[in-house]
Amino acid sequence: MTSIPVPGESARPVATDAGERNYLTAGRGLASWLFTVDHKRIAILYMIGICSTFMLGGIFAMLVRIEHWSPGATITDSGETYNRWFTLHGAIMTFLVLVPSIPAILGNFALPLMLGAKDVAFPRLNLLSFYLWLIGAVGFVCVLFLGGIDTGWTFYTPYSTTTATKVGLAGLGAFILGFSSILTGVNFLVTIHKMRHPGMGWFKMPLFLWSLYATAIIQIVATPVVGITLLLLVVERTMGLGIFDPALGGDPVLFQHFFWFYSHPVVYVMILPGMGIISELISIYSRKHIFGYSFIAWSSIAIALFGFLVWGHHLFVSTQSAVMSTIFSLLTFSVSIPSAIKVFNWLATMYRGSIRLTTPMIYALSFLFLFGIGGLTGLFLGTLSVDMHLHDTYFIVAHFHYTMMGSTLIALIGGIHHWWPKMFGRMYNEAVGRLAAVLTFVGFNATFIPQFLMGSRGMPRRYYNYPLEFEFLHRASTVGSFILALGLFMAAYNLIASLFHGKKVPDNPCGGASLEWQTTSPPHLHNFEKPPVLTDPYDMEDLYWDEETGGYRSRSVEGASGGS
């Protein structure tokens, strides 16, 4: 029986010719990392930074879950402490983790490579983005040590203008993070416009790049609004100007409009790149050309544009007029369609494929499942009368965890596994990787399915204390969160261990047809030693399995170099 090609499991070790010149070894010492302008190294800096803040946010999540083991006091007898925990969890996870996550880590690493370019358009600006992110992160850690904040990550006025906690500093932190996000967006936008491989038309780009493009538009247009809003908040707090506080003649609901004008589009900043990754993974691990390329590409743009017109669906019970609510509800439903299209296209891609359940593919299939639930439960919340019941309950909490964590983060982790061999030239343990993916999936559902149920049955969100009837569901959720944490730790351990014990991999261990798989693993300092040969990023038939190197090879590349 011929063995089935498994990435990185080739019989003999592969000699990579990257040698001294790959980007990891091209410079040594801490300074060569801290002052690097190489997009690949910046991606790794972001990866370390974002994973650390993810841990921090995760610790607060676990504290919240443990506290809910029983009503009233479990590990803290103070509602004030609990309020700080859930606020820090939410603020860290959104501003420091989810918003930058995929663009900053995988976008930075893969975007220039996929375009066949040497770097992003503005490498120094890229480093500046990273340091802005770092300053924002340090700001949040300061907030943490100076007593925390207790406003919820949404900073609703007039609570946020009257609480004694460190809202000013946190607002400033988020403001700086906003700049980081804008600059990344500008950088990617220009890079995609100007630095595509000669001959790579818009519709020959990998779909991941379309999604990053759509994301960049949102980052650039929406982020300034939240920046200004947070600034107004700080001005009101420090100078007593009446903008949002009715006691000073302001309008508290105005804040919610400003806030969601940014924060709704920003959920697409989180989810769109995730969808882009899934398009790559499903196609590659099914060995199939993506189905309906242009529908998927256009749906990304449609989501980015429609995403700006639906913020009012967070305000159905905020005293917003019924007419406004009606319009926002209708527009909200319209934005659900492009997402549905993507799901059907992914399924069609798998049809008659040659599917292998590698670790990244398991994450991709988890994504389909979790995003399916996240998207479908969105229908309940977009429905005016039903939202009146479900708004601000655990139903919402579960819904957005399915879309934000179950989708964005699962896509990120899947993507990291997919590009890992390219990043470091080594393969992780496949069995451990799969087990971690399954544990994460099981733990995730165990954590959040009970939350849907308690929400619709009457459990509001952001509650320190709760009625005894919800104890069982809370406990189920807490148990689930431990399984989830275990899965995540296992994945992290597996990846880190691979740096020391992982098998070396060839240029193209997993069979991607986009340009990054033509260079060495890890890539050369300047990305490509010889100019890459333009191919269709989804032409899987161009690739064949080469037993000798334990990787895939491209017929057109070999044809172009005169057939070696």
């Binding site: 029986m1 103070s78 609480t163 609901v253 189905f291 549905a340 389909l368 399916g372």
Partner: protein, 323 residues
Amino acid sequence: MLSALTSLAAQQGRSFWMPTQGSTFAPEVDGVFQFIFWLSVFFFVIIIGLMTVFVIRYRRRPGIEADNSITHNTKLEVFWTVVPSLLVLVIFYLGFRGYIRARTVPGDTYQINVLGKKWVWSFTYPNGFSTNELHVPLGRPVSLTMTSDDVIHSLWIPAFRIKMDVVPGRYSKLWFVATEKGEFPILCTEYCGTGHSDMLTKVVVHEPSDFMKWMDEAGNQYEGMNPAEAGEKVFKKYGCFACHTLDGKDHPIGPTLKGLWGKMETLSDGKKVLVDENYIRESILDPQAKIVKGRTPSMTVFKGMIKDEEITFLIELIKSLKD
């Protein structure tokens, strides 16, 4: 026996997903919820079913290549764009219908004013009488005109499937017709700080005749009580317990009222003052006027909200707690 029956009745209409149905809106909202639920289940089963079938059927096997001849199919893609679009339009319409009904207050309602403040609700009836629990007659449209004294709160009655924010500086409205006798929880769903999760009370639905009776009795609520007992009732009514205790235990927000009477307090400006009738009176009506050294002035201002008679009862209560 009768109470067992009524509590059984109160359980009625409770489903796997939803609490008891207690208002005319509840069956409608639940109907829409069920419709979306089963539609979602249908699509979810299709998506995950196909995914599973494909993973098994098209698993990688030696010698079998993927069929790369299919890259798109415009007819199919238009089909799965149009069908979901039509379905979501139906869902939109169903939600719209119920929402507009819930937000259009009819003209002939029994009107109750609602004030939310950290972290108590108070409900004021047309005759000026007010309570912390909401009492309403069965089967009659009741409307709530709501505002807040401090930050934004949100009033949710899960059994009635209605919710609306309670915003300082503006009035919001809710209305409903209760269809089920009994008691149902009222919760605050807009995060409002330390006591947010304890800002809960209940709505008591009476038979209309019982409601009138309750109103009459409640109207002279302090009858037959001694002043200190009446004081305790006032203490509950105005939500003083949100910040004070009566048993000497510490409260994170306000000082305990036990042992207060006759004490010498040192104020923030260093002056000393004796806790007597006048001091207590001022502490309630204008708490900011004199602040004891080391305390944060965060007490609600009760000027204009509390009757003179009730202050007298409170003073008697505090006197009785002298240790």
